[in-house]
Symmetry: C2
Subunit: 222 residues, 2 copies
DNA sequence: ACCAGGATAATTGTATCCAATTCAAGCGCT
DNA sequence: AGCGCTTGAATTGGATACAATTATCCTGGT
């Protein structure tokens, strides 16, 4: 089966495991692999030109991160999130990113505030395109996370963000009402962190995350 | 190497993977595997009478849950948490369990409150012994989590609890001052949830987690 | 004695092989 | 024709085999 000694993936120098991991995660994030899809390890392996083992390990890692679901002896499926579960993830992100915001408020400096301004204007210009919007939006939020000295907290926030990304993408493609208020919404965050008060900043972030995500899913409220 | 066809682990009917996972996690939780220990997959495999593969997958899962750290081509070590990282985990648990408490407050019923009373008296009696104290303490907190309809949130809280358990165990063995105020501390939680006000209950839980854990690690405050 | 370098051992990463389980037809039976 | 059983293919779980990398130790030179 392995005909070419110098295979493509080795140009990257990456291990077969991380290659499989990145590939599957990218497919899931982009929505190419929809929720509920049965992922066959052997299929992925031959697609990437590697063996089944590193794929299995990648799948297991993705499963433990919530992106896939393992059924004993019956393979792995891409985790399909229902509205309830998406709300749950946003609720968790709201309190976690609120905490991160609180910690960042007392640490952000002039340069960070400037970066945030720039990121916001980029976000404003990116509203026309879904992919660019998501990228710019992540970058804006990342500015604050840079000033939060809690690596695990930041990692967890980013993980939740990735898990909900395909659904956000779907929502934005259908109704772009969410994009309308974006600039005003994020200006509020900026003024909150400029106030220098951790409590205010935390509350602002918590409400921001819930308002701009959960409200659309559950119009009535939780 | 495999001399006996019907090996011990198969009496449990468990898969080799979950067996390795449970074994390693138990060792870590009990502190038998200290932070920084280099875990050799082959060693674990022969100890359990299985092959190296399922052990590897278990290690990878534990790594993605934060219990171990993978170094490329150089194996896995048990994650050694410094004071900073323990504080970080408690901060995260504080906001997450605060959220869980808020959601539980409007849902808990008479029976749940009774269970909490019983769990508290058990906790009070268990103060003499470290292992029983930890078990009873977890059970008390679990009563509230039972009424929180957010499975991922609950899972994450429990995961953080497990990750910090060996360090809590160490602390309790050295200085048992933390155990002194326990009953009063948890009575406060009970009265907060009895108030029926989600905001009050959330704040109570957040402050409880920080007060009873972080303050000892960082006497000055964060 | 100490360091550099290389041989050797230990360990990890990957591939292939085998067994066990699940899923899908095809078959016969009533 | 409908139903259960059996057989076979597909797939997963696990073990072994091999390659690549890292760690250890030994030796020789300074």
């Amino acid at each position: 089966m392995d005909l070419s000694p110098d295979r493509a993936q080795q140009e990257q120098g990456q291990s077969a495991q991380s290659q499989a991991y990145s590939y599957l995660l990218a497919q899931i994030r982009l929505g190419q692999l929809e929720g509920g899809t049965h992922v066959v390890a052997d299929r992925v392996a031959s697609t990437l030109g590697i063996s089944r083992m590193p794929v299995r390990e990648a799948i297991r890692q993705l499963a433990s991160e919530g992106f896939m679901t393992l059924r004993s002896n019956r393979g792995a499926v891409v985790t399909a999130l229902g509205a309830n579960e998406i709300v749950e993830l946003y609720e968790m992100r709201a309190v976690l990113e609120g905490l991160a915001m609180r910690l960042a408020t007392t640490r952000i400096d002039r340069q960070g505030l400037d970066e945030a301004d720039i990121a916001l204007s980029r976000l404003d210009r990116a509203r026309v395109n879904v992919d660019r919007f998501i990228t710019a939006h992540d970058q804006f939020h990342d500015v604050f996370l840079e000033y939060c000295p809690r690596p695990r907290l930041v990692g967890e926030i980013r993980r939740i963000r990735r898990a909900t990304e395909p659904y956000l993408r779907m929502t934005l493609k259908v109704s772009s009402t969410a994009v309308q208020n974006t600039t005003a919404e994020h200006l509020e965050l900026l003024s909150a962190i400029r106030s220098g008060d951790p409590e205010t900043a935390e509350r602002a972030m918590r409400e921001h995350v819930l308002r701009t995500n959960v409200e659309e899913l559950v119009p009535g409220g939780v």
